[in-house]
Point group: C2
Chain length 591, copies 2
């Protein structure tokens, strides 16, 4: 099949729809504006109105099982992630309650499980260690508000500028940073650390104080977690009752591995408990029992005992400004990525709706002492695998957390810190995206630059800085490509003189202006006598003021040397720009 | 003429040269690297070796006249621009000497006149008012060194990323800022001001102290300067001796207008001088006579009387860091723009050579107390109009400045400040690029955004910030266009089902990944039954990791619904990327 003929067939006999066609003068900005003000109906903004009327009682059992399975993962993870954020463990429970209810009302993806995640916890860690738990609740409210605004005004498109390479670099650096914070608990040590490198340095400084009991428990738990995880991939053949039971059992062990791990470790801690030395293992200790109080989130930081104001509202804003930008970014990136992954390939995800749901969960949660939350990849996977039918599953999960906070906290006293550290490391270490390196190397090696920039600067100078530096580097590299478009030069020589055809194979924008001009001049200067210069703009979708001026400048120069100048195959958008500059020495033919 | 057939002819029967052709795997970065290390011969790096052997005695007279004409403009301008930079007037003379000699050795454009310019003077002004004249010499050396490095390693390409719109916005804001600093001299006032807005505010605060004599002289001088400038455009018809003499006279008055203006004003000052009140007009007063001393530029700031160190070298570096980036940028932009404007349309300017010449002039000049210099648009125009033949003209100009510094400084005492202010305003006010607004409006309205951003942020928050913010805004806008490429969708419906053809009309890079995926999914979901999806990549010169992954993801999804997926007309660079991602469910045909 001749490719050219295919294209011609395409353009002639097909019904053609154009996103930015000939007659439409609307710029992208204009259509965006219209989109912002286009009213979304209440129906599409409250997905519960779509699925609740169709809810069947059969679904309830599925959702009960799924919700309970997620709860078994969530409770230990929530305690663990609170410690990643530098908060007392009960804050993890507080952060796990409201998301299920709010997402049931507003969320567009049935299986998305919302709650505390490691990435957000590590992001609030620096502020929390400086200013205490109040700032976590403040950040939950403000980041939620920003998310709500972004979602309601369809501003999520800015995420397009954060590339996959940057996201992978960020996630990998975050996974290592989070794991590094857990090293002390894995080895029964007690020190403060600030960032990945410092954590490693501190570990080696304190290596002589390593406690044997904690280390054995931590390492065993980690190995057990990976083992139970791998178990989930084992397929049991046969259709006998026995093999069915074994299959179910394997699935349960794999799904509830975090709860099993913490439960077994706590059991060992109870059995070996020695009241005099307060146990041989480091335990998480007393957890405040009960539900979080309903309270307006703090807009200034006060000393809890004296009531004195430590940071006023403006001071709080400037002290947390950087986190306020990064938290919504990370929360949205993670939630939208999960929604897309679990929505199925052909269904289009309404990103704005997901952003609204996350934002509302955070705003509402901040009235119940929550720290920032978003969708969790691991728990969403558990939810999906457990046969979730509707967001009722999330409500069930929330109820389980409420029950745990109300009745189980006295027993949480005995959970060894090492077991929670193992839960965290087991969950995040798989986020190190080493497996993207080879495909990037094969496809486009230069994409490894933003990946590596984000990864290393995130690891060395802080995760927030990494994502920002990486994004700028990638956008700059993209501009770089715009600066050097491929240009084909064709020459035909006749007795009267040469005809030079110049065909840029991409849009011409300002960083390419001088380069283009030099290439053309060089090509002309090689010929003895040029009679005609043809600019074939068939591939030039965009011109801007600078490159249009360059074309005009070239044609004026050539005209003064009696060279005829033609511009052919001019696309509609380029034509508009070219006509604006009024190149009187150029004959223009449209495509 | 059918445009399509023209293109086919072009591609088949023409001799085609490709800048980034099929077989060549070299990336832009690689070719850049080679360029950097490609040795330039001494011959091309010392342009004097090209023109000096061909120098004829006839040329000498032309160069004498041109050099003298430029000198007449340079002497008053140099005194004036020194005051723009916050320096004593003699520094203007110091900055006007070495450029002519160095450029004669290294410069590639015969008419380019190097020396103090208003844009660089206003850029050093904040540092000079803070730290005194030593810092100007330090900045001359460091900016010169940076320019030398950029030139020798061919790194001038970074200028491509500063768009015409940003340059125009910067120049306009600078012209207004410079003019605003001269208001006090035009009205005989005495106050300090910092930036455009502050200067306007200060003028109105001090409006009651306006001195009549200075105001009348300033305004008259300004009007006279514009009048003499306009005179240059008057054409005298006829070939009689009389009309020839008139024509020459008009040309002289127009060319030497700055010198005439200052000379006449100084004459009036002498005539009306009143020794008791030290004159009725504000005069520039005593100027240190003689040539600048030869001295190593200062690398720390010392108190001139006590010898105490005020700022050490590292402190100096950090205090002037921002200026050190902006000065080379502005110097190079101006010099290269002038070289291009005066080199003639068909000659390719060797930008690196110009950058080297400017850098060397600054480095050498800094040993003679020069502040940063570059090419001057107005004086280059005078040089060209006066019939310059070779860079000997610049040497003549330098000799005139040396003579002026040696013998004329006592007479400079009587130059009224208002006349110098008029010279400055008369020179810079034409740099307000209001005339680019209409062409931009007609061609590409969105280019007005970086223009206006640079202009207003430069005016309100400082010129340096303006150029940086404007550049980022423009690059971001360019990325924005990459995020929403035009995509054509063609559908043909047969009994067996529909075939959907998707043709992006530009390269697909990461900000477009989700948008592209959504457009395609929407198009497919509109059809009842799709049998085939064809990605026509004829216009896609570049793919990156993210968009290649999107294409693979789409084809895997479609394949799972038994939709055949074809990619046709795949360009060589896109093919490389696509093959790297191994899309096993996609049939690929190259273009």
């Amino acid at each position: 099949m001749n490719p050219v003929s295919v294209r011609l067939v395409t353009m002639n006999s097909f019904e053609v729809e154009t996103t930015q066609g000939v007659g439409r003068k609307k710029s992208f900005l204009q259509t965006k504006k219209e989109k912002i003000f286009r009213k979304k109906t209440l129906y599409s903004r409250l997905p519960i109105l779509q699925w609740l009327p169709q809810f069947k009682v059969d679904n309830l059992l599925s959702d009960l099982i799924a919700g309970f399975s997620v709860g078994l993962t969530l409770v230990p993870q929530s305690l663990a992630y609170a410690t990643v954020g530098g908060l007392p463990p009960q804050y993890g429970l507080y952060a796990s309650i409201m998301g299920g209810f709010v997402y049931a009302l507003l969320g567009g993806t049935r299986s998305l499980a919302i709650g505390p995640v490691a990435l957000l916890a590590i992001t609030i860690y620096p502020s929390v260690t400086k200013f205490g738990p109040q700032v976590a609740v403040f950040l939950c409210f403000t980041s939620g508000l920003i998310e709500l605004i972004l979602g309601l005004f369809n501003l999520g498109f800015f995420l397009d500028f954060i590339s996959l390479a940057v996201i992978d670099g960020f996630t990998s650096a975050a996974a290592l940073t989070i794991s590094s914070t857990q090293l002390k608990s894995l080895f029964g040590l007690n020190y403060k650390s600030d960032g990945f490198l410092h954590a490693i340095v501190q570990l080696f400084r304190n290596i002589n104080d390593v406690r044997l009991a904690d280390t054995i428990m931590g390492m065993t738990a980690l190995v057990a977690l990976f083992g139970m995880r791998a178990l989930g991939r084992v397929k049991v053949s046969g259709f006998s009752t026995k093999s069915k039971i074994i299959s179910k059992l394997i699935w349960f062990v794999s799904t509830a591995r975090n709860a099993i791990c913490v439960f077994v470790c706590a059991g060992i801690a109870v059995a070996t408990y020695d009241a005099e030395s307060d146990g041989n293992l480091k335990l998480i200790g007393n957890i405040t029992s009960g539900l979080p109080p309903f309270d307006v989130p703090p807009f200034q930081l006060t000393n809890v005992t004296t009531g004195e104001i430590i940071l006023s509202f403006p001071e709080l804003l400037s002290a947390t400004g950087f986190s306020m930008i990064i938290l919504p970014l990370v929360a949205i990136l993670e939630a939208v990525a999960i929604a897309k992954a679990f929505a199925g390939g052909k269904k289009k995800v309404d990103a704005s709706q997901e952003i609204i749901a996350i934002g509302a969960s955070n705003v509402v949660g901040s009235f119940f002492s929550s720290f920032p939350v978003t969708g969790s990849f691991s728990r969403t996977a558990v939810n999906e695998a457990s046969g979730v039918q509707t967001p009722i599953s999330g409500v069930i999960t929330s109820i389980i957390v409420i029950l745990a906070a109300q009745f189980l906290t006295p027993y949480f006293y005995y959970i060894p810190k090492a077991s929670l550290a193992a839960v965290i490391v087991g969950a995040v270490i798989v986020m190190v995206e080493y497996h993207v390196i080879m495909p990037m190397w094969r496809t486009k090696k230069s994409d490894l630059i933003p990946f590596a920039t984000t990864f290393f600067s995130g690891l060395l100078f802080g995760l927030e800085l990494g994502i920002i530096v990486g994004t700028f580097v990638h956008l700059f590299m993209m501009s770089f490509a715009n600066a050097r478009p491929p240009i084909e030069i064709g020459v035909t020589r006749k007795e009267a003189g040469a005809t030079v055809v110049v065909q840029p194979r991409e849009s011409l924008v300002f960083p390419a202006a001088d380069y283009f001009s030099n290439i053309v001049k060089k090509a002309i200067s090689k010929e003895e006598h040029v009679t005609t210069v043809i600019f074939d703009l068939a591939y030039v979708n965009r011109l801007d003021f600078a490159t249009a001026k360059t074309l005009k400048g070239l044609s004026d120069n050539f005209a003064s040397s009696n060279i005829e100048v033609l511009a052919i195959n001019v696309m509609p958008k380029a034509l508009e720009v070219l006509e604006g500059i009024q190149p009187k020495n150029m004959n223009i033919t449209i495509s």
